[in-house]
Symmetry: C2
Subunit: 573 residues, 2 copies
Amino acid sequence: MSSLRWLPITDWLPNYRKNWLPGDLTAGLTVGIMLIPQGMAYALLAGLPPIHGLYAATLPLILYAMLGTSRQLAVGPVAMDSMLTALGVGAIAVVGTSNYLMLAAILALLVGVIQLSAGLFRLGFLVDLLSRPVISGFTSAAALIIASSQLRHLLGVDLGKTTSFLETMTAAIGNVGKANGYTLALGIGGMLLILGLRKINRKIPAPLFVVGGAVLLAWGFGLNALGVKIVGDIPAGLPALQFQLPTMAQIGLLFPTALAIALVSFMETIGVGMAVQRRHGNYKVIPNQELIAVGASNIGNALVGGYPGAGGFSRTAVNDQAGANTQLAALISAGLIVLTLLFLTPLFYFLPQAVLASIIMVAVFGLVDVKEARRLWSLDRNDFWMLAATFMATLFLGIQLGIGIGVALSLAVHIYRGMRPHLAILGRLPGTGVYRNVNRFTELETIPGVLILRFDGPLFFANVGYFREQLATALRQREKPVSTIILNAEGISSMDSTATDSLRDLLEELSNKDTKLIMAGVIGPVRDTLFHSGITEKMGAEFFAFDVADAVALINQPLHLRPRPEHATQCNQ
Amino acid sequence: MSSLRWLPITDWLPNYRKNWLPGDLTAGLTVGIMLIPQGMAYALLAGLPPIHGLYAATLPLILYAMLGTSRQLAVGPVAMDSMLTALGVGAIAVVGTSNYLMLAAILALLVGVIQLSAGLFRLGFLVDLLSRPVISGFTSAAALIIASSQLRHLLGVDLGKTTSFLETMTAAIGNVGKANGYTLALGIGGMLLILGLRKINRKIPAPLFVVGGAVLLAWGFGLNALGVKIVGDIPAGLPALQFQLPTMAQIGLLFPTALAIALVSFMETIGVGMAVQRRHGNYKVIPNQELIAVGASNIGNALVGGYPGAGGFSRTAVNDQAGANTQLAALISAGLIVLTLLFLTPLFYFLPQAVLASIIMVAVFGLVDVKEARRLWSLDRNDFWMLAATFMATLFLGIQLGIGIGVALSLAVHIYRGMRPHLAILGRLPGTGVYRNVNRFTELETIPGVLILRFDGPLFFANVGYFREQLATALRQREKPVSTIILNAEGISSMDSTATDSLRDLLEELSNKDTKLIMAGVIGPVRDTLFHSGITEKMGAEFFAFDVADAVALINQPLHLRPRPEHATQCNQ
């Protein structure tokens, strides 16, 4: 049976090996058990009833298992997307209403359609626009925002509607005095217990123990009567399949959020997927197919009344460590959630919301990455400031704007660097054919009448003016007149039409002054461009030299007299 | 007397030579005579009474003459800025009201402040973001939009309010039948006469002849009684100085237009200024100082009840050809306008508006550049599409959006090229130390166990993933195992922290497979980056080779046994 490229399950399922089963079974059950408290906690974070977090862990997992190229990735509700859902839907609907539920599902549909289309149009490369410093700054700030949003549950105090990190923190700090002692104790106790159990063994499903213990405590001592908020009645049974086409107005309102979630959730999915794949190497994660798979999974979320999800970091790590070999593990996890929905929902009646908050708190605190900031401070100051700017923008201007500002800033820096590339004046190491930067090496000699310049970057519209200015400055700084300019073009990776036009102007100017320009070490694609532009024709074969030493030889000895064949002008036109 | 750097007039006025005067006088008078009809025509285009175009040719010219670095640039009303003013102010005020006049002056103030601040903050480099194809596509489309806006004056028909090129053209074509014959005859006759006189001698102030002739015709035959619209009463005297601080609401409404005009008018100014300077060479145009000068000139426009202007193409060309040596010519032009305002305004009572439209028509048709589009079609298809996209966006989405889309597109293409740079697998020319691209040169030999790769561009966050993918593909395609990878890094102009992190991962992966990586021809700044990242330390001196031939020698012979000193690892830390 041959495999279908667009359906990766046809790749591994027909070739399934018996010895993969124990690993898949263990991993699938472990992740399923993790998913129960995590799914409920994240749904609460997203502003939905906890049970919808379990709905989001059914069909979406199955769809990803069939379409995804990663074999260990565990998709489902994740912290960042939950937070973004709360922000986006919370701005246009009231938490707890059926309208809110419907808009969350529509958001998942939009995210899914955006991701699916991006995959079909092969836009997976866009994820490369996110640099590590931007991702790090964004993630740290988002983690703090998410943690701050849980303070109300941890304190057991209604903080009212807050729309920014500062507002939330101010409200929380101002209301510490009104905290419900039992709620606070449960929340902090939960956090400490999770951290403690993790210290003992990372494979222990700590959140499940904490949830179990808290349910028993709340039930035994009737904590709900003492002001501790509990989850309460949960409808049993599988989610009803639903589908509703959004109106244009809803699309307009939700689109910016959908775009941010589509990007962030794909970024998390592909980042985690790539990291795990690198440890295995027996399969390949294909970005565009991942977009299709996570997009389909999010459309699945819309069908079961869930909300946007992604490939999550913590559950994928557990899945991998517990021995998952294929996506069968994910199918087993989904099966466990289905059983829970059918038979176990009454067990969660007494679950205190503070405990769900403590699960989220522990999960996101691990995402605050101070180490990376300190490392960049000493390694690359530019990238440190990029991280800091993205962090500040995300924390104070919001999650959606933060990632956009980070990407825009890193592209702006890239463009600015391209506008002002490094260049060097070269000199000859006496007695050799070696030419180096005169500012870096001592004892280099200048050849009378010859200026040798190296330009390190593509020559294009945004830097060709700078190039000509720098050349003019270099010419002015030479005391004696220059009759030949040698341009070491090894680093000129491409030229656009603005650059070739400007080069033509320059050559004319130079020829009026009887100055010759020789291009040394020009790479193939640039030779092609120069050939097409007609410049080569006008300048003749002596315009190109193999390298700087060759160009220097050219000055005194015309081409046809030199013994060595000229490879540099050969070109596969 | 030493010159003040911020006041270029102190540079040329104290050193003024007597033999410059005849040229300055001729040029100043010629441009002044041109300014009278052009200023009135452009003011009408901007939606202002014609006399305000003359106001805009007084103080602004004097301010530029003192602050500007170009000695031939003729500032004042120009077509593009007039059109943008009509669009921006026309959207929030009614033409002919005093509110419209006030908002036009406030717009000039905003444009001036933006340009002045940009100059003080040294943002002149931003003009480099405009590539030639974008400028060409934008200018051609803007010229068509401006020409279409004059059809109502040429036909002598009220076309009502139109907001797009398509709407204007549809309305004009639908109303051709209602055209006033006298108006149409005057307009078309005016255009033909200007073109005819130009053919004879470009120095003839053709528009002035046409204006004079038309005034005589309109007066002699009483054309205004036959439905030909005339300029009518013009207040005599100099403009009253005015200054009004804008409200926040006005700033909010006008800011996008002000930003577009600030960019476009600076682009025109610097482009024209640079072009003329290149012909002279006895002074230097400094972009940031030009921003300050044209900004001050626009603030001057706000003070005299003008509207945003720039250094214009046609008048600067005439100024230069007529022999202008310094900005004294501009001061003489301003003087002529002042005399006109004081004594000659009654002469323009009978001037038909259709004749002003014909002056604009002829001026802008010269800006439609089909030749450039055809040249790019055969030279650089990418740049042709860039021109076409900017042209279409400007024509159908509007002038303000068009230039933004053009810039965004050209930056996107630049970024995309940077994400997928050219790379080549190199082979050795038998019997030499010369290594070239195996896809371009035949008869190259492969060294067993050695993969030689050249990467042409900076290695940064957006392409390091691509680099690793391409390397992995190249390794897979080799039939026999590779023990050494040589990376020709001459074209790697910089590396950011994402790239060094990824390189560290790669080196670890490779060392697990007992594969060595040698970087050949690394330029100084990249060596510095690698040194700071700690990679150099870990890899030792053998990590760097002088060039590919050197790296091949390194494989069999460790560093300390080789006779030639290793210059490549020397570094000015």
